[in-house]
């Protein structure tokens, strides 16, 4: 960024330079940031890029050389996290145009398709990203198993990972009902009927899932709150523990 500006010394470049030299700029980008004036590639700056930014919550300054091999991790865990972020962003967009009642939900989705700019595109992205996230979390689990990465000291992080898989499935399933079309209604009917066969508390489980005796507005509201608030809240907490444990347990596993 700084380099390209210095090559052509137009008025824009000068403004850019004075902006980069300003107090505001240097207060935003901490020492070592690649956006700071005069960033040079040095071992110290390479450390600062991570150490002096919010990234330090996710990554250590250095990682094992084999950990950056794409063929080892296939990026699956990171991609699951990225898809979650993408789903949060697109989901917030969708929330502006959606009311979770049986009378309005389907019409709101229809209106989203026809009269909201990029509405259809964002809904498509939300849906496909959701399916992809279920897949990538599942494949991440398989990858971790085949590398034996659940073995000590990472046993508990594996347990958290299984919880995250279940939360991902629940998030996807609660979102499935929200369009309130025939596909949603009957898929959820099948799913909740299965839950109704829980031993001992079958009917109570089904009642709690549906918010009533059969699927209706109460179910929609209940699943909407689960989908946009409760489950994301819970999964973020578990993700935080998961990522923290990855570092505390000595980084990613291997090499084999």
């Amino acid at each position: 960024m700084a380099n390209t500006m210095e090559k052509s010394k137009g008025p824009l470049a000068k403004t850019g330079e004075s902006l980069q030299g300003s107090q505001v700029w240097s207060s935003i980008f901490r020492p070592g940031s690649i956006f700071r004036k005069g960033y040079t590639d040095s071992p110290r700056n390479r450390s600062y890029v991570v150490m002096n930014s919010v990234l330090y919550h996710l990554h250590p300054v250095k990682v094992k050389r084999h950990a950056v091999k794409v063929s080892y991790t296939l990026c699956l865990g990171g991609l699951s996290f990225f898809l979650f972020i993408l789903l949060t962003v697109t989901g917030i967009f969708l929330m502006f145009f959606y009311r979770p009642t049986a009378a309005q939900a389907w019409n709101d989705i229809e209106a989203l398709h026809t009269s909201v700019t990029f509405g259809l595109l964002v809904r498509n992205m939300h849906r496909w990203a959701a399916h992809l996230m279920v897949l990538s979390v599942f494949l991440h689990m398989a990858r971790v198993f085949y590398h034996g990465a659940y073995k000590p000291p990472r046993e508990f992080n594996w347990v958290i990972g299984v919880v995250l898989l279940m939360l991902t499935l629940l998030l996807s399933f609660t979102g499935y009902l929200l369009p309130w079309d025939q596909l949603a209604l009957w898929a959820v009917t099948v799913g909740t009927n299965m839950g109704g066969f829980t031993p001992v508390f079958g009917s109570q489980v089904k009642f709690a899932l549906l918010g009533g005796a059969s699927i209706g507005t109460e179910t929609l509201l209940r699943w909407y709150v689960l989908h946009v608030l409760l489950l994301p809240f819970v999964i973020v907490i578990f993700m935080a523990i998961h990522f923290w444990r990855v570092r505390k347990d000595g980084g990613i596993s291997g090499p084999l």
């Binding site: 389907w106 259809l120 595109l121 399916h131 590398h147 594996w158 079309d181 009957w186």
Partner: protein
């Protein structure tokens, strides 16, 4: 700790390339260094020197060879360390003053790890992976629309009624078992089993050849889930009857 800073490594590589370009015969020390690629850092010329330098007293040389190479202070094997040259980056030469047996002063217990900086090595890969998946999703979403069927109608049951695809393996089992088995017991046991995997599998090895049982068991689980899901998705038609998708069509929505 025992890793070579990248800038030092680059500097040493450049110096070596320069020395090689200048000619092999006027830099015998460099040749000696090249024969010993397993030195740790500047403090590890002992091995290198054994290759070509006859100024080492014979008894010291013997002793150092008997110690199996790990005689210098830096006992760490770091394959990527080209700085084990007796001619330093700036042309200084070092002379072997003494040989210190490993463990006589300090014994490093931690095994050295080959590490790289997170920036740019890891962050760049993550950034590219995120961009690639974003681009894929964007393009896919432009061309393929998410399904929106007609308004929900509790009085009209579509035939077949299917759960979301990730539950279709369970729904497929409903055709074989009682719902309490297929819909509740199997998934609960499955999840509990997965959670307990690290506590059941006490085998400490991570090598695939030592884990044949665990790997075959898990592969059977994956294959079973995949086969059931595919059958439930594409091979079940009206009335949950078995159909062939290439004959009767696909009864499946994502």
């Amino acid at each position: 700790m025992t890793e070579i800073p990248e800038h030092l490594r680059k500097r040493a590589e450049a110096a070596r390339a320069k020395a090689e370009a200048a000619g092999g015969d006027d830099a015998p020390a460099t040749d000696a260094g090249a024969e010993a690629p397993t030195g740790g850092d500047q403090a590890a010329p002992a091995e290198a020197a054994t290759g070509g330098d006859d100024r080492i007293p014979a008894h010291l040389l013997e002793r150092s060879q008997a110690a199996g190479g790990g005689t210098a202070v830096a006992t760490a094997p770091a394959p990527e360390a080209p700085t084990a040259s007796t001619s330093g980056p700036d042309g200084h030469t070092q002379r072997l003053l003494t040989v210190v047996k490993s463990g006589s002063i300090q014994d490093v217990k931690a095994t050295p790890q080959d590490k790289v900086h997170t920036w740019p090595h890891l962050l760049l890969i993550e950034f590219i992976a995120a961009l690639a998946i974003l681009a894929f999703l964007l393009v896919f979403s432009v061309f393929v629309n998410a399904p929106l069927l007609e308004l929900a109608n509790p009085n009209q049951t579509p035939n077949p009624s299917k759960a979301p695809w990730y539950f279709l393996g369970l729904q497929e089992m409903l055709t074989m078992f009682h719902p309490m088995i297929a819909g509740v017991t199997v998934p609960t046991m499955g999840m509990l089993g997965l959670m307990m995997a690290p506590y059941i599998d006490r085998n400490p090895s991570q090598k695939p050849e030592d884990r044949k049982f665990a790997i075959s068991l898990f592969t059977m689980f994956l294959m079973g889930a995949a086969v059931l899901t595919i059958i439930g998705s594409f091979f079940r038609g009206p009335g949950q009857n078995f159909v062939f998708p290439w004959i009767d069509g696909i009864f499946f929505d994502l």
